[in-house]
């Protein structure tokens, strides 16, 4: 299985999804080798064999935790693939890194990448380099199916499948159309399309995404199967949080990028605040649109009621949910969207856009069009003021969400594997 991030070092929903899926698959007795670009340490590999491959030939195993790695082998490839970046941003970031840390970088990587000489300086180069590494890993390990998550790993998946002559499963968590709207990067589109064409089966996380794969990429609908994500809440208890503010709190939590529709949340917040001053809005997360959102909030003169937290990790996410009265996900395009499920589990009623995959599996959520700021303001106002409505959403929502399990998804994925092996 090729991924690019794994908890706890995640920048979005993909790492969480890979974790949930692999854990559930392990429960169905599926053995896995998980390959990621870079390992930071602290990843939970208790249910699978984790392997680190900063060097393609010598897979440096973490000896201290090796005994726990049974079902999944975890392989790390020394690569600076970073999720959710487009190639231009990557170039900028990388140039910056070179300026700052030239010495350190050359030290770290020169030992490990003798085979390829220089470290890739463009994202697309990195993707191809990852594919080269993947083919070496494929040749040196034994497995039945290759499973690749999202476009950065498709070339790696294709390479591994070709070398090993094993079937390829492509897992589409998001498409270029979700990330960039209509301004798709043609190189990324090309890689995605090649991956989908090469795949024996394409798994999409929602019917919304399935439609895109079929219509936008022209993929044979017969080999595209929707497997809705599950949600894995772990065993962590709800944090016991003392509220600092007396107002109701309405939360947006996610990357502050075009895809997530943050500007609609800001405009809705402004509308609500005109009617009801007893509410605070929080935009939790970071992203390329954050500065624009901060300026907009300041210009609307609501910055004393509209707060930014920056990127939240681990416990802070649960803390944020615990402080929230309403959760809004106004995504312009959301292939699935796990965070509303996490909110519902924390007893927070959710408002989600109809343009999200999760809208296909949820009954007890307010669903509206992302651009309908008036409807959004309306729904927020209702949920913070009408106790009866809120109670209903809380109770039914929690029950509903507790039945959305990764086991269901893993069961389907396992069936797909089995059909491909036979």
């Amino acid at each position: 299985m090729f991924g690019w991030e794994f908890p706890p070092h995640i920048s979005g929903g993909l790492g969480t999804a890979c974790y949930g899926l692999t854990r559930a698959l392990a429960g169905f007795d599926v053995d896995m080798i998980f390959v990621v670009p870079k390992l930071f340490g602290g990843e939970d590999g208790s249910f699978m064999q984790l392997k680190e491959a900063s060097n393609i030939e010598i897979t440096k195993e973490k000896t201290d935790t090796e005994e726990f790695w049974e079902k999944l082998k975890y392989i790390e490839v020394g690569s600076s693939l970073i999720p959710y970046l487009d190639p231009e941003v990557y170039t900028k970031l990388f140039e910056h890194t070179i300026l700052d840390h030239n010495e350190i970088k050359s030290k770290i990587f020169s030992e490990k990448f003798d085979f390829s000489g220089e470290y890739g300086t463009s994202l697309l180069e990195e993707v191809s380099r990852y594919a080269v590494v993947a083919s070496v890993i494929a040749a040196g390990n034994d497995f039945d199916v290759v499973h690749a998550h999202d476009w950065l790993t498709y070339p790696a998946g294709i390479a591994a499948a070709e070398i090993s002559k094993k079937p390829l499963v492509i897992h589409v968590h998001a498409t270029e159309f979700d990330r960039s709207g209509e301004n798709v990067n043609p190189n990324v589109f090309e890689i995605e399309k090649r991956g989908m064409l090469a795949a024996n089966t394409v798994i999409t996380v929602s019917n919304l995404t399935r439609d895109k794969v079929v219509n936008r990429y022209g993929i044979d609908p017969n080999k595209v199967i929707t497997v809705h994500n599950g949600v894995d809440f772990g065993t962590g208890d709800f944090p016991d949080i003392q509220r600092g503010v007396k107002e109701k709190v309405v939360t947006f939590l996610g990357r502050i990028t075009f895809q997530k529709g943050p500007e609609y949340f800001v405009e809705a917040a402004y509308k609500v605040l005109q009617k009801d001053p007893n509410v605070r809005f929080v935009m939790a997360g970071s992203g390329d649109m954050m500065y624009r959102m901060i300026r907009r909030v300041a210009a609307l003169k609501i910055a004393d009621k509209f707060h930014f937290t920056g990127f939240l990790k681990g416990d802070d996410v649960l803390k944020m949910f615990a402080l929230s009265d309403v959760y809004v996900m106004p995504s312009v395009s959301e292939p699935f969207g796990i965070s509303p499920l996490e909110a519902m589990r924390s007893n927070v009623p959710v408002i989600i856009s109809k343009q999200s995959g999760v809208a296909e599996v949820l009954k007890h959520a307010v669903k509206l069009d992302f651009w309908d700021v008036d409807a959004m303001a309306d729904a927020i106002y209702g949920l913070i003021n009408y106790e009866g409505l809120t109670k209903m959403f809380k109770n039914l929502g929690k029950k509903e969400v507790e039945n959305i399990k990764w086991d269901n998804a893993a069961f389907k994925v396992k069936n797909i594997y089995e059909s491909l092996i036979q």
């Binding site: 929080v282 954050m290 901060i294 300041a298 707060h307 930014f308 937290t309």
Partner: protein, 394 residues
């Protein structure tokens, strides 16, 4: 007889700690005590203590012929008391020489003059009370935060009884006129106005150590040569600068202290200049004309206006939301709230929100503990949100 008027600005803000959304309603202590203490100690060792000693020696050496003036913000005095009593003592020694003038300003180094006369007056009274307490002086000279000045602000200051006020010799205000004369306020001519000669001031404050500057290295000889080449009819050279120039912005290694040490000797021996404090200049000279400043000017950046503090929507929002509280604060007797209210008004907090990164970005970056103005805004607004809750519950 021509004169040189030295005025040094001494100021340190109470920097705000990282304050998160989760802290709102729980944590009511906003300031980064560690940063404030370490920065104060660092600047004390590099600048305040050696510079004060140097000036004390010079004043003693030239027996009344070398004079300087200081404006020390109330928040800086408060931090001296907390973290650097040695610095406070060295200022007291300077005060005892009788050749040092202390200037009035707002307690919080705030922008209150732009918003509220009442708050402004209150803060000036607080700062002058501290000057009285520590140095036993009653200032007659006034300078506003960052030399911000307009006709209205000047009038307000005149009505408070001050006889002279300092501001920037901004090009767009002076036009063809020279900053090297004394002017008066255009509404109340009783208030004299001294204008900073920014070329000669910045030669020391900003350019002194710049090796790309064609005049580098700057020596006392060269500087006095420049002073001598100024038209004999011009009366006063106002050299206004941050005190932290000496040893902090220009490190000791650049030779800045040596330059200072030799300057008085050179001036007194090879020129017809004397050294005077602002109030002495005001007594001696006659204003040549009124200076018209309908829109506020300051000594910051190329524009010499307010845009370093109130130039974008982030700054406007933070500033207005803070001052929206004024009437409620007045009604509130809680001492902690009153103290925080002052510290939050310090102009530095708004300076951190500046998004002008082009012409003066370097200077802004140097003084900014935040990696971006947005980060600074989030932090300040989180603190302010908590403060608003406290004020409303008062």
């Amino acid at each position: 007889m021509r004169t040189i008027c030295f005025y040094f600005q001494v100021h340190q803000p109470f920097r705000i700690k990282r304050y998160r959304f989760f802290d709102i309603g729980h944590d009511h202590y906003y300031f980064d005590e560690y940063a404030n203490r370490t920065i104060m100690r660092k600047v004390a060792e590099k600048c305040y203590l050696p510079a004060n000693q140097l000036f004390l020696d010079l004043i003693n050496k030239y027996k009344g012929k070398f004079k300087i003036s200081y404006s020390i913000s109330g928040v800086a005095l408060e931090q001296f008391e907390l973290y650097a009593p040695d610095v406070l003592n060295s200022f007291k020694k300077l005060a005892e020489t009788g050749n040092v003038e202390f200037i009035a300003e707002t307690y919080a180094h705030s922008l209150s003059a732009l918003k509220s006369e009442e708050e402004f007056k209150k803060q000036v009274e607080m700062q002058t009370a501290l000057l009285k307490k520590h140095f036993n002086v009653e200032p007659v000279t006034f300078r506003n935060t960052e030399l911000i000045y307009s006709d209205q602000i000047g009038e307000m200051v005149a009505n408070m009884g001050y006889k002279v006020m300092l501001t920037e010799g901004a090009k767009h205000v002076l036009g063809w006129k020279s900053p090297n004369f004394m002017y008066c306020n255009s509404i109340n001519p009783r208030l004299k106005v001294l204008l900073k000669n920014f070329t000669l001031s910045d030669d020391i404050a900003f350019r002194f150590s710049n090796r790309d500057w064609t005049e580098w290295p700057l020596t006392a000889d060269k500087y006095v040569h420049w002073l001598n080449s100024i038209d004999k009819k011009e009366e006063v050279i106002n050299l206004f600068m941050d005190y932290e120039t000496f040893g902090e912005h220009q490190w000791a290694e650049t030779g800045i202290f040596e330059f200072l040490k030799h300057l008085p000797k050179k001036v007194l021996s090879s020129s017809d200049y004397s050294f005077n404090t602002p109030s002495e200049v005001a007594d001696e000279l006659i204003p040549v004309s009124a200076i018209h400043v309908p829109h506020p000017i300051s000594w910051a950046d190329e524009e010499r206006d307010l845009t370093a503090w109130l130039g974008n929507e982030l700054q406007e929002e933070a500033f207005n939301k803070l001052y929206d509280l004024e009437s409620k604060i007045k009604a509130c007797t809680n001492e902690d709230i009153q103290k925080d209210w002052l510290k939050l008004q310090t102009s530095d907090h708004f300076y951190y929100l500046c998004t002008k990164w082009f012409s003066d970005g370097d200077v802004h970056k140097y003084f900014n503990p935040y990696s971006s103005p947005y980060e600074a805004f989030i932090n300040f607004m989180n603190v302010l949100s908590d403060f608003i809750i406290r004020v409303e519950n008062c």
